[in-house]
């Protein structure tokens, strides 16, 4: 029924072998950089353990910390809004804009607004939205979703960006020099930034103790946007909280190293109070997170700091591209978050993995991603979301492997069929195994047959 979703999209992606190789290499390069800088920190594993502990602690007292954050933020003149779901989040932002007659919004670094579908919502209400992060701008111009949570346009090659910019910025269609392309985008982006009525950013960390938020970027456009516009709106999921400023150091050391192999992002900006004159709004969004917090087997996933390391290391993600996941958050972390949002829709995602385990190893907050993938698989099957032939095959296989007699009998028939298979290569090539692989060459005698004949006296 749904199990082919990721597989189908991934097959389409891999059909372009050369592109698949390029995508894989580009992300492997990022992982290799991550390896190099993390191995240079002797206390890396200790940092991961501490970060994991801080997040577990925070999640266990999340209601208290959220209220502490609100109290401290409000004391500094910040307007705090609470949104139960995506729709409420979008309406709150429209309300803030409408109140000031704002029609031009610049945005930067927010996967949450992707999750809420904010751009489409605002555009339908006559608001002009310009994503100012270059990667986000590229996917916005191409009417696409980000394919990666840190490098949104990583699926696009230089020439494709060149073609897109030729359409929008009048560069030569042959232009594929990254510096010249970035220059071409800069002029229109600067105009949008200077002309904006409001600026929206995401939040990397919200600190309960101070009521302040922290935004980590490399381009500085998020900062430019909210320093120029009279209104700054910051949107965050409830899980972005950390208790104290002292905790921030742990996460800042982990985040950029895990994400891109940088010691720290070029900009780590702290926002605590509105500029004068000016407004600073923080929108705190639930949108299913409380429900996820109530799932003991899966709540740990809310510790995610969105570094993207699990995407970069995932051999499946690297060869299938972010869009193949059909979810706001792709890759291994998306594959354990998305089923909690809509199990039927995302039923194929926990299976988009070989359970190789590398995602769990690179996770800076030690989320047991492979363990969760395994557990989601069980819930997908129990929920009736496996396709019927596979469900039946597993039931049948379970009965065969549960009985010595059936097993020996099925083994003999199976080996006979494998020996006959080479006579019908066209048939073999129509099976999922045989499409690109030969079947094993089956022996006449199983090991147990041999053992019985020679040893079992």
């Amino acid at each position: 029924m749904t199990i082919r979703d990721h597989a189908g999209a991934a097959e389409a992606f891999t059909a372009d072998a050369e592109r698949t190789a390029w995508h894989d290499e580009a992300l492997w390069f990022v992982r290799a950089k991550r390896d190099e800088v993390t191995h240079a920190i002797p206390e890396w594993e200790a940092l991961r353990t501490i970060a994991s502990g801080i997040k577990a602690h925070t999640l266990s007292l999340l209601d208290d910390y959220l209220e502490e954050f609100e109290r401290n933020a409000v004391a500094h003149g910040v307007t705090v809004h609470w949104a139960t779901d995506a729709d409420e989040h979008n309406r709150i932002i429209l309300g803030i804009l409408r109140e000031r007659g704002a029609t031009r919004l610049v945005k930067s670094k927010s996967m949450l607004t992707e999750e809420c579908g904010l751009n489409h919502y605002l555009e339908a209400q006559g608001i002009t939205v310009v994503d100012s992060d270059l990667g986000e701008r590229i996917v916005q111009l191409g009417h696409e979703a980000p394919s990666h949570i840190v490098m949104p346009a990583i699926h696009k090659r230089k020439a494709e960006v060149g073609a897109l910019f030729a359409q929008h910025f009048g560069t030569s269609p042959e232009e594929d020099d990254p510096n010249r392309l970035a220059d071409a985008a800069r002029g229109p982006l600067r105009r949008a930034l200077f002309g904006a009525d409001a600026a929206l950013t995401g939040v990397n960390f919200a600190i309960a103790e101070t009521g302040g938020i922290v935004v980590c970027t490399n381009e500085g456009n998020a900062d430019l946007g909210c320093h120029l516009a009279p209104v700054h709106i910051a949107c965050m999921g409830i899980e972005k909280l950390i208790p104290r400023v002292a905790d921030l150091g742990v996460f800042l050391r982990l985040l950029a190293r895990s994400a891109t192999g940088q010691p720290i992002t070029a900009y780590t900006s702290h926002f605590v109070r509105p500029r004068t004159p000016g407004q600073f709004h923080v929108v705190i969004v639930d949108n299913g997170r409380s429900e996820h917090l109530g799932r003991p087997d899966f709540r740990e996933a809310l510790a995610c700091i969105r570094c993207g390391a699990c995407l970069n290391t995932c051999p499946v993600y690297r060869r299938s591209g972010g869009h193949s996941y059909g979810a706001t958050i792709p890759g291994p972390i998306g594959a354990i978050l998305s089923p909690g949002i809509d199990l039927a829709k995302h039923a194929s995602l926990p299976f988009a993995s070989t359970l190789c385990g590398s995602c769990g190893d690179v996770c800076p907050v030690k989320i047991d991603i492979p363990g969760q993938l395994y557990r989601w698989r069980q819930l997908v099957a129990r929920g009736g979301h496996l396709d019927v032939p596979k469900r039946r095959a597993m039931g049948c296989l379970g009965r065969i492997l549960g009985s010595r007699r059936y097993y020996e009998w099925a083994g003999a028939i199976g080996r006979m069929m494998l020996r006959l298979a080479p006579a019908v290569p066209w048939l073999v090539r129509r099976t999922a195994w045989g499409r690109e692989r030969e079947l094993p060459v089956a022996p006449r005698e199983s090991f147990r047959d041999w053992y019985r004949r020679n040893r079992d006296t």
Binding site: P315, S320, L401, S403, P443, Y451, D456
Partner: protein
């Protein structure tokens, strides 16, 4: 001490030579080995496909068959990882706890024995490390956790005179087998496998060696489809004096 040999279902049926080599290698080191005939499978194929309930009969059979033994040795890191880590789905009886604690991967077990007679293997070998052996059983250090630390498989191979272990661009990237993943996602699975094979070929491997036959079944299938030939062998076969 008697060791019970667990031969994974697909090895029993498709690779009896690997099972015979495992038996021979253990016996050559003076171990008394029995192969309990009641065994079938650990249950991993169903459980990894999300059908833990369908795996239960096989897993319970495994426990019944092996709970009387002090040591259960299997030539497959993946199956051992399943017994040790996923038998928590069974009620935690003494028998279940015992087999979970006492099921050991072949290479790890061999390293607990006195060193055996040396066997030469004058070939350039590409080592394929199974992910469950590396990242679930923690044999060695994966490249993402530190400068690649070798596990028991490498240790055993390095003792063989004449052997050259070829360096690889990606020492421990997954081969793409992944049980039902191989047929659920055939395109990505095959692509991952091709990339592994290409890495080994690029570095002049004359034979690919692993302690996990399931990865090799997948990789061999790709090698035979794409050509040219590149033999694959289980480490037990090398230790048993076999040549490609």
């Amino acid at each position: 001490m008697t060791v019970a040999l667990f031969i994974p279902c697909y090895v029993d049926q498709c690779y009896p030579q690997v099972a015979r080599a495992t038996l021979a290698v253990l016996e050559a080191r003076g171990v008394e080995v029995v192969f309990p005939m009641e065994q079938t499978c650990c249950g991993q194929p169903m459980a990894n496909a999300g059908c833990q309930d369908d795996a239960r009969a096989a897993s319970e059979r495994f426990v019944r068959t092996f709970s009387a033994y002090d040591t259960i040795v299997a030539p497959s890191g993946s199956c051992v990882a399943h017994v040790r880590h996923h038998f928590d789905q069974l009620p935690p009886t003494d028998a279940v706890r015992r087999v979970r604690a006492r099921t050991v991967e072949l290479c790890e077990y061999l390293l607990t024995l006195p060193e055996a007679p040396v066997v030469e293997f004058p070939y350039r070998v590409g080592v394929h490390v199974g992910c469950h052996t590396l990242r679930t059983l923690h044999q060695g250090t994966p490249s993402e956790l530190g400068a690649s630390g070798d596990g028991p498989l490498h240790t055993l191979l390095r003792r063989m005179p004449g052997i050259t272990l070829v360096p690889l661009d990606r020492a421990d990237e997954c081969c793409g087998f992944g049980g039902s993943f191989a047929v659920d996602e055939p395109a990505v699975s095959a692509r991952m496998g091709s990339d592994r094979v290409a890495d080994h070929r690029r570095h002049g491997a004359e034979v690919m060696v692993s302690a996990d036959m399931s990865c090799l079944m997948h990789l061999e299938g790709i090698i035979r489809r794409q050509g040219p030939p590149l033999p694959v062998m289980h480490v037990a076969q090398l230790l048993n004096g076999e040549r490609p």
